[in-house]
């Protein structure tokens, strides 16, 4: 596996990076549980202080940092977590994931504007609706595999957007405006004294969802992200997660082991869709108005790129990948029209440097070395560096 000792400089750098991440992962999996909880707690506290102005002036000189943290960064991370269930865990290539984001967004808009429901009620309804639409999409199509499934899901994403564009009830191309913000919990203000001022969050009202301040929305997104991570992580370590892993690695073999593959694929679709829908609801609750062009195909592709870039199947990797994909284009806004070119070049470079993703799971590495599993279902039989074509001589 380890090819770091020889080869050109690029291979050596890759090898060094690879063994560094490996050793961190080993230490992490060997760490006692209190260490892990401590790290989780520290990470959450750090995330709470992330929108501080001091960090923002470096991270985002061109845009309002807390708003950026809410969307695209937070939104992409949540979408990435959801898509990772489908692509990274169950190994199903979904190119129309944006559809569920749109369904969540429109649920928030329609129920908020036309029925006057509150955000929390709609969050629940939006999750249920998008999960249902995941099942409706999956039930007839999950018999397809690999590229064929990808094409059908791509079509689904477009159908949802075009339907929204052509339905007068939901505003057609003009979308829906005047979407209510979530009700404020309390007017409580973080004290404006020295400590919190120094940390850059003094005077913030974290539970008051107004029109101006992006920070409360960021905290809301953070809460949903943390809940989604806990949910997904628990699934991953359960029987369900094992079933998904087996389907991803060899679907026929999984069926032969007694795994009801169709049911579990449907479950992956529904859960992924539910998380996408939740993102849509939260997004729309801040955005005030949404239009069909908020949900283009390229967003599906971008989230997929984020998942693959970060390390499909590995949650920290997916979060890192989503963060980078959301943040880099904003950070380099100063390059103006060259922005997308540079962004594309960065993505290409990262994939040349780390074809298995920035932080792949060990299991994923083994799958890639074998040239099967997850991404194998993209129709691309990716041969790993150590792979010799299997000696399956037919005659």
């Amino acid at each position: 596996m380890n090819d770091s000792s020889s080869g050109n400089p690029l291979t050596r750098v890759r090898g060094a990076y690879s063994s560094a991440t490996d050793s961190i992962r080993d230490r992490w999996s060997g760490a006692p549980s209190w260490v892990r909880w401590l790290v989780y707690a520290v990470l959450i506290v750090l995330a709470l202080f992330l929108p501080a102005d001091g960090i923002g002036s470096f991270m985002s000189p061109y845009t309002d940092w807390p708003t950026l943290l809410f969307f695209p960064i937070g939104g992409y991370i949540l979408l990435g977590i959801g898509l990772n269930v489908v692509v990274g865990q169950a190994g199903l290539l979904d190119l129309g994931y944006v559809a569920f984001f749109a369904i969540g967004g429109y649920a928030m808009a329609v129920f908020g504007v036309k029925f006057g429901w509150s955000f929390w009620e709609i969050l629940l309804v939006g999750i249920v609706l998008s999960a249902l639409s995941g099942i409706i999409l999956g039930a007839p199509t999950l018999r397809l595999r690999g590229d064929y499934l990808a094409i059908v899901t791509l079509g689904f994403g477009e159908i949802v957007r075009i339907t929204a564009n052509n339905t007068n009830y939901i505003g057609g191309p003009n979308g829906i405006g005047g979407i209510p913000h979530p009700p404020s919990f309390s007017e409580w203000t973080i004290p404006d004294n020295g400590l919190f001022d120094a940390l850059g969050i003094g005077g913030v009202q974290p539970f008051k969802y107004g029109a101006l301040d992006g920070k409360p929305y960021y905290y809301l997104m953070l809460l949903v992200i943390v809940l989604a991570i806990i949910f997904v992580k628990r699934l991953e370590n359960s029987r369900v997660g094992r079933a998904w892993a087996s389907i991803r690695e060899d679907e026929d073999a999984a069926e032969l082991m007694g795994v009801p593959t169709f049911k579990f694929k449907l479950a992956a679709f529904a859960i992924g869709a539910a998380i996408g829908g939740a993102t849509g609801v939260v997004y729309a609750s801040q955005a005030v108005s949404i239009i069909p062009t908020n949900f283009p195909f390229i967003l599906s592709a971008t989230i997929l790129a984020a998942v693959v870039l970060g390390g499909s199947g590995n949650l920290p990797g997916v979060i890192l990948g989503s963060f980078l994909v959301a943040w880099i284009p904003e950070r380099i806004r100063g390059l103006q029209e060259y922005r997308v070119l540079v962004f594309g070049a960065v993505l290409v470079l990262l994939m040349v440097f780390r074809p298995e993703g920035l932080l792949p799971s060990r299991r994923r590495k083994a799958e890639l070395a074998e040239g099967s599993g997850g991404m194998g279902s993209m129709g691309a039989e990716v041969a790993g560096p150590a792979t010799v074509a299997a000696g399956e001589v037919s005659e």
């Binding site: 596996m1 029987r239 094992r242 079933a243 892993a245 087996s246 690695e249 060899d250 026929d252 073999a253 999984a254 069926e255 032969l256 082991m257 007694g258 795994v259 009801p260 593959t261 060990r362 299991r363 994923r364 590495k365 083994a366 799958e367 070395a369 074998e370 099967s372 599993g373 299997a390 000696g391 399956e392 001589v393 037919s394 005659e395």
Partner: protein, 239 residues
């Protein structure tokens, strides 16, 4: 009769892969299906284990018609398969692979695990290694061991000798005999007809989707036609 396959037809799209195959497997037997590439051997196995739907005919297992039963439910009824090309889970360790074999059932798994390790000491040595990083022979052992973990009444083996060195083939075949001696019925699909006929009790010869001959395995070993076509005996041998 433990397993009866009655006149099954299977289609890939419009192309008929099986045109009326009938095979019987009795309890305690080793039955082998031999035949050239594309004769329908693997398709027959996949249809028995439920990976392929059949267009007509029926499959009766233990007296029950299972033609319409989903594949994952047939596992619990006692049909275990080591698939073509081994089909092990490359990212899982050997032990995790074996535990997948016991995924669907409840009860004590450790005892079965011990039995598999007993049968394949090599797997015990490598129990924490990722399945994808093992050699072809080890992967084949793993595939068979994993199928045994499902506690099959009948074990379906799809070309266990494929791509293996002659010495390993010997070893795999003697293990198959041992599995059979311990009480598991075996339905074996092989291109390596010589080896398969030596360990099997009965054999069926498949050609282009139909059974053209069935007889005790020993008889087929001496059959001039079979020798010519599959055992490399005749001068006019097609291979």
């Amino acid at each position: 009769m433990l397993l009866e396959i009655r006149d099954i037809h299977v289609h890939y799209g419009k192309i008929a892969a099986l045109k009326g195959v009938s095979v019987d497997v009795d309890e305690g037997e080793i039955v082998t299906l031999i035949g050239a590439n594309g004769a329908g051997k693997s398709t027959t196995l996949k249809t028995i284990s439920g990976l392929r739907p059949l267009s007509s005919g029926r499959i009766v297992f233990g007296g029950r018609n299972i033609s319409k039963v989903a594949g994952h439910k047939r596992v619990l009824m006692g049909i275990g398969q080591a698939p073509e090309g081994r089909g092990i889970f490359p990212g899982m360790t050997v032990t995790e692979n074996l535990f997948m074999g016991a995924y669907a059932r409840k009860g004590n798994v450790e005892k079965d695990l011990k039995e598999v390790f007993d049968l394949f000491p090599r797997l015990a040595e490598r129990k924490d290694q990722a399945g994808g990083t093992m050699s072809g022979g080890e992967q084949q052992m793993l595939a068979i061991g994993r199928a045994l973990m499902t506690q099959p009444k009948v074990l379906l083996l799809d070309e266990p000798s494929m791509g293996l060195a002659p010495k390993l083939i010997q070893q795999i075949f003697s293990i198959i005999q041992e599995i059979n001696r311990r009480g598991t019925t075996v339905l074996l699909v092989e291109q390596n007809a010589q080896q398969a006929l030596q360990i099997a009790h009965r054999a069926y010869v498949l050609e282009t989707g139909a059974v053209v001959k069935s007889a005790p395995a020993g008889e087929l070993l001496d059959d001039p036609q079979v020798r010519a076509a599959y055992l490399g005996g005749g001068a006019e041998s097609a291979i």
